[in-house]
C-alpha cells in the first residue's frame, strides 16, 4: 500500500517536472553572469580557476560545516552514560604496514590539491576531504590509534581565524571585505592570484581537521 502511494506521488511529481522542463533547451543556455566571469575572470582575480569569485560563499560553507561538527559533538556527547568498551581487535601486519605507508602519501596529495586550488580543479574543500580520508584509513586500518583532539581543534580554529583575518585586512586596506590586496602576479604560476592561495590553504587545514574530528566522534561512539 505504501509503495503504491509512493509510486503514484512520484509519477505526479515527474509529470509536472517534465511539463515544465520540456521547453528549456539543453546545452546552449548560458547566463550573463557566467559569461562575465569567463571573460573577466583572469584579469580580476588572477586565478586560472574561474570558480574563485566565491569568497563569501566559502565563508558560509565553512560556517555550515562548523555548525554541523558542533551539532554532531553535542548530540553524541549529551547524556552519554559511559564509554562503550568494545574490544578492538588488532589489524594484521600487512594491513597495518600498508596503512602506515599510504598515510603520508595521501596527506601529500591532499596538500597538493589545496595548494594548487587556484590553478586546477580542486581547492580547500577537496584537499581537506582527501586529508580526512587519510585519517579515516588510519582509523580503519590501525585500530588502536587515535588522533589528538586538541590538535584538531587548534588547527580548525586557526584555519577559520586566518580566513576571517585575511578578509578583515582587506576591509582595513581596501574598501570591502575579502578584497584581493596582494599583487596578482602572472596567471598559471603557483605564486599568483593574491590572497586566494592563502585562503585555500587555511580552508584545507580547517576542513581536514574538522572532518577528521567528525570521523573521530562517529568512530568513538560505535
Amino acid at each position: 500500500m505504501r509503495k503504491i502511494i509512493s509510486i503514484l506521488l512520484l509519477v505526479i511529481i515527474a509529470s509536472g517536472i517534465t511539463f515544465s522542463l520540456v521547453k528549456i533547451p539543453f546545452g546552449i543556455s548560458k547566463t550573463k553572469v557566467g559569461n562575465y566571469y569567463i571573460e573577466k575572470g583572469i584579469e580580476q582575480t588572477g586565478a586560472t580557476n574561474i570558480v574563485n569569485y566565491r569568497g563569501f560563499d566559502t565563508l558560509g560553507e565553512i560556517t555550515v560545516l562548523f555548525i554541523a561538527a558542533i551539532g554532531l559533538g553535542a548530540v553524541l556527547r549529551a547524556g552519554r552514560k559511559k564509554k562503550s568498551e568494545r574490544k578492538i581487535e588488532p589489524a594484521s601486519l600487512i594491513l597495518y604496514t600498508g596503512c602506515k605507508f599510504l598515510f603520508p602519501l595521501i596527506l601529500l596529495f591532499g596538500a597538493y590539491i589545496f595548494i594548487h586550488g587556484h590553478l586546477t580543479p580542486g581547492g580547500g574543500f577537496q584537499g581537506g576531504a582527501v586529508i580526512a580520508s587519510a585519517f579515516l584509513l588510519i582509523y580503519l586500518g590501525c585500530r588502536e590509534r587515535r588522533i589528538n583532539k586538541t590538535v584538531t581543534k587548534v588547527t580548525d580554529s586557526l584555519g577559520g581565524l586566518i580566513f576571517v583575518v585575511t578578509g578583515l585586512i582587506g576591509l582595513a586596506v581596501g574598501n570591502y571585505f575579502l578584497i584581493n590586496f596582494l599583487p596578482k602576479g602572472i596567471p598559471n604560476l603557483l605564486f599568483s592570484a593574491g590572497i586566494i592561495p592563502i585562503i585555500y590553504i587555511a580552508i584545507g587545514f580547517k576542513v581536514g581537521s574538522e572532518l577528521a574530528g567528525i570521523i573521530d566522534g562517529l568512530m568513538e561512539e560505535t
Partner: protein, 113 residues
C-alpha cells in the same frame, strides 16, 4: 537530455527509498542519492554542447566553449552541505539506536507516520 533523465532518475530513486524503506540508515542512503541527483541536475543545466571546464589550464585557451561556472560553484557548496547534513543525521541515528535499540522506523513510536 540524457543528463536530465539521469538526474531525475536519481532524484526519484532517492525519494522512493526515503518514502518506502524502514531502516533509518537506508533512508539516509536515499537522502544521499537524492542529493547527488540534484547536484547532477544543476551541473547539467549549465552545460554547453561539447563544452570544456571553465579553467584556463594553458594560456590562450578559447573561452567560447567553456561551460557556465556559476552552477558549478553552487554545486560545490551543495556537496559540502550534503556532507554536513549526512554527518549530523548519522549522529542522530546513533543516539536513536542507543535509546531505542532499533533503527526500524515502524518500531519507534515517535517516528511512525
Amino acid at each position: 537530455m540524457i543528463c536530465y533523465i539521469g538526474a531525475f532518475g536519481l532524484i526519484f530513486i532517492g525519494l522512493f527509498i526515503i518514502l518506502v524503506k524502514r531502516n533509518l540508515i537506508k533512508v539516509f542512503i536515499g537522502l544521499s542519492i537524492l542529493d547527488t541527483g540534484v547536484n547532477l541536475f544543476l551541473i547539467s543545466v549549465g552545460y554547453i554542447s561539447k563544452g570544456t571546464a571553465p579553467i584556463f589550464s594553458k594560456p590562450g585557451i578559447e573561452t567560447g566553449r567553456m561551460v557556465d561556472p556559476v552552477p558549478q560553484a553552487l554545486v560545490l557548496t551543495a556537496i559540502v552541505i550534503g556532507v554536513a547534513v549526512l554527518a549530523l543525521a548519522l549522529s542522530l541515528a546513533i543516539r536513536l539506536y542507543h535509546h531505542y535499540g532499533t533503527l526500524n522506523l515502524r518500531k519507534i513510536k515517535e517516528q511512525r507516520w
